[in-house]
Amino acid sequence: MRSDLLAQLNEARRERRAAVLVTAMDGGAQRLVTPATLSSDPLADQIDAALRSGKSGLVEQEGASFFLTVQVPPVRIVVIGAVHISQALAPMAKLAGFDLVIVDPRTAFATPERFPDVPVIADWPETVLPPMKIDRYTAMACFTHDPKIDDIALEQALRAECFYIGALGSRKTHGKRLERLQAKGFTTADTDRIRAPIGLDIGAVTPAEIAVSVLGEIILALRKKALRVEVQK
């Protein structure tokens, strides 16, 4: 592999951009394909499918074999609410290999003492999320059940087509939340993408158990089903 292609591949990963390295198995010729250059590539269809699945693999074209090294951004979890569940979820997510960041404007909650080794941003989601560029490789879990904090985050997560969107709250709380979102123009198909009540139904009681159920639900959305944006297409 040319070192400049390796550098470009690594740069794309650092900047959360998708990229595919195409290697001709016969001869070893290589090129890097990005979503921007995809349409003009001779293997456009196969590369497009590989980007969607996120999986590397061999493809054939006219008797020639090519290996696609597929690189899609690492999944990260954005947690709204520096609450008890988040304290349990943060180390679990780290163990499972996910990047996690916590956002909560309430400075009494969002302290480094409560969250060692986790980035905690003590500011409003409307300020924090746009520069963070949440995307379809982002999971969003809202735990404050305060509309002033959660709603904006949910709206941005829906628009960014986050592959997982979950919100804590009773069915009644969620019903009101849906009314507010629909009043803002979101359709039922949009709001159906919000997992609520949040987490897999494993009978979780304690904050740590709820964190397990949420992490399990995030992994389910990531591994078992196609990313949300693919389902719609």
Partner: protein, 107 residues
């Protein structure tokens, strides 16, 4: 912590920038219960240091040995491992799977 594929490609770049000879091994095909998925990487430097895995330990030694030749002559190679392989007694997959590994030099 386990080395992720990110660390491996990043390390390969760092090694290459340091002027070391570097090879990258990639699992390109698997059959049966292969231990590491397609796309898994192993980065190897000319001194035999390596990071990552293509098989969870079964055939890494053989891949590192082949990588030395790849670093020396720059020609990519495709290696195949499996229980049916004649080298199974020294580099086989005890799980019964088969894998194909592409080894290339970073130039």
């Amino acid at each position: 912590m386990l080395a992720s594929d990110d660390d491996i490609l990043g390390q390969a770049e760092v090694w290459a920038k340091q002027g070391r000879g570097v090879a990258l091994a990639t699992v390109v095909e698997t059959w049966g219960s292969a231990p590491r998925p397609v796309g898994s990487h192993l980065a190897i430097d000319a001194d035999g240091h390596f990071l990552g895995s293509v098989s969870g330990g079964c055939v890494e030694g053989e891949v590192v040995t082949e990588a030395m030749d790849v670093i020396a002559d720059g020609k990519p190679r495709v290696l195949e491992f499996g229980v049916a392989d004649e080298t199974a007694w020294r580099a086989g997959l005890s799980c019964g799977g088969r894998i194909r590994v592409y080894v290339e030099r970073i130039d």
